[in-house]
Amino acid sequence: MPNLTIAASEDSFKRMFNAIRDNFSFADADSIDFGPFTAGYDIAFHLENGDVDLRADNTVKIDELDIKWDKLDLSLGIDIPRKCIGGWCIIPSPFGCILRFPRICLFDDDPDIEVTLPLGGITSEVSLTGRLVMRHFDNPARPPGMHAWDAQDAAPSLASEWRLFIDDPVVDIDPIDIADTVGDLLEAAVNAAIDNLLFFLPGWARDIAKAILGPVIDLIRAILDLPDDIQEWISDLLNVSFGLLDIIAQFIIDYFGDKTPLATIEDPYPLLPATTNPNNFGPSMLIPVKVPIRRLAVFNTDVEMVLEADIG
């Protein structure tokens, strides 16, 4: 039979969850070389909302937790093939061309363009389910032989503590759902990049250069091997090729399951704080009353979270 039992209502548990949810932030950037092109992402998001449910089977479920994308930039680096004019036949014959005009190329090499698609401003959803667990944390900075009480008095504190986590939560994350206007966005970005490449040319020359380069989006389609559905292609790129869903899911698992406790309890636990001595004898200050927590278990019902401790 435990020496101490503490219960927290579902509302209290929600407040604990909301506090660590609001401190959550994630940012990452990477790029991959796909041969004919490179693709990179630069992302950042935070979490909002979430429906917290303590369940009768001793699990906790957080549903409809929103991933608010602060930044979701996809960059594509494309190597445009060198395009040339000329090469037309000066003297044709029934057996083929006898004499050809030399080819004159627009660029001295294959030009690179890089376009960035700002895909942010969307919301994704994630849910997580798991059992609560208390883990004992032994402060690794605490020197061997240092008494627990001295460790608590140290600045910064070197105290050990019990930490409350969601044990190895199962995370379900919705695929990143790109807006269906992404095709227009890509075309506009590529056009802008080509304009940037040719910025010093007068308008007529830019038009001709772009015509020589070919319909830009068709060119990019060929280089990227884009299917008709650009939206799906980009979603696959983010979700599958980059493995963003796995990266995000793992970060969420680590955050709630290992890195950021829902609550912490000092060990030994201060039952009574240090106080002035009310007696006329003895020291002026009375030391705090602390009890070591030998075992701390946690479980929940559908209405409350319960902590059971063995002390001494």
Binding site: D79, R82, I85, G86, W88, C89, I90, I91, I98, L99, R100, F101, P102, I104, C105, L106, F107, D108, D109, D110, P111, D112, L197, L198, F200, L201, P202, G203, W204, A205, D207, I208, A209, K210, A211, I212, P215
Partner: protein, 235 residues
């Protein structure tokens, strides 16, 4: 990779068979077998010599000679095919095309021994002048060695942009005059002059260049003075 745009393509305004640039070429057929030495000149100044061989048993029907490469001391057409190793060859039934991949004002004088075989500043019957015009505007064409004159109208529209690769070159014959005298082309379309009289063909831009769209006035604002003016202070 930072690729450089070939700006010269868009900056040329005069196209001269006697002063070749990036988008112009002259073609001559050397019917007599032998080794030829081409003296390359830029704006009338000799810059280098390029040798080639016309050989009866050669199968090559086209030999391109890049005059800019000769100036740089490069040999783009070296091969093992001539009796003098490294000398490019061409059939007497084939054509030698002189062009330049950079710069302008190029001309070439070719002699077989002491006999002048070809002078690009003075084309003769059978020679060709081939070029492509990019800027959509009006041009004048004339034979500087004769009285022939004509006009070229180059256009470019969004519809043209879709058919650039399928444009066929326009052939013009130059005898006592240009036939036809008035041409309508699409930007980048090929243009070939078949020369049947002594000629130096000069095409120059005639039309005015459309002004670039206005970028708006440039505003300069004086910094605001926080202190009241003397007049106000006096009131």
């Amino acid at each position: 990779m930072k690729a450089r745009l070939n700006r010269q393509l868009f900056e040329e305004t005069i196209f001269d068979s006697g002063a070749l640039g990036l988008t112009t070429s002259v073609v001559h057929q050397f019917a007599e077998p032998g080794v030829y030495a081409a003296s390359v000149r830029r704006i009338g100044v000799h810059v280098g010599v390029f040798e080639f061989e016309v050989r009866g048993d050669a199968t090559e029907m086209q030999l391109d000679i890049n005059l800019a490469a000769v100036d740089r001391g490069e040999r783009e057409n070296d091969c093992d095919c001539g009796p003098q190793r490294g000398l490019p060859v061409v059939s007497p039934k084939g054509y030698v095309l002189f062009h330049a991949t950079s710069g302008g004002g190029w001309s070439v004088h070719v002699g077989e021994g002491k006999k002048k075989a070809f002078d690009s500043e003075r084309l003769t019957a059978g020679d060709m002048f081939a070029l492509t015009l990019l800027e959509p505007t009006k041009y004048r064409m004339e034979n500087a060695l004769g009285g022939a004159k004509g006009t070229i109208d180059v256009s470019f529209s969004p519809a043209d942009a879709k058919r650039l690769s399928s444009l066929q070159p326009v052939i013009v014959t130059l005898k006592s005059g240009f036939a036809p005298e008035a041409l309508k082309l699409v930007a980048t379309q090929g243009l070939v002059f078949r020369v049947e009289a002594e000629a130096r063909i000069v095409i120059s831009r005639h039309g005015r260049r459309d002004p670039e769209p206005a970028r708006g006035p440039f505003h300069v604002q004086r910094p605001r003075i926080a202190e009241p003016r003397a007049k106000k202070a006096a009131r």
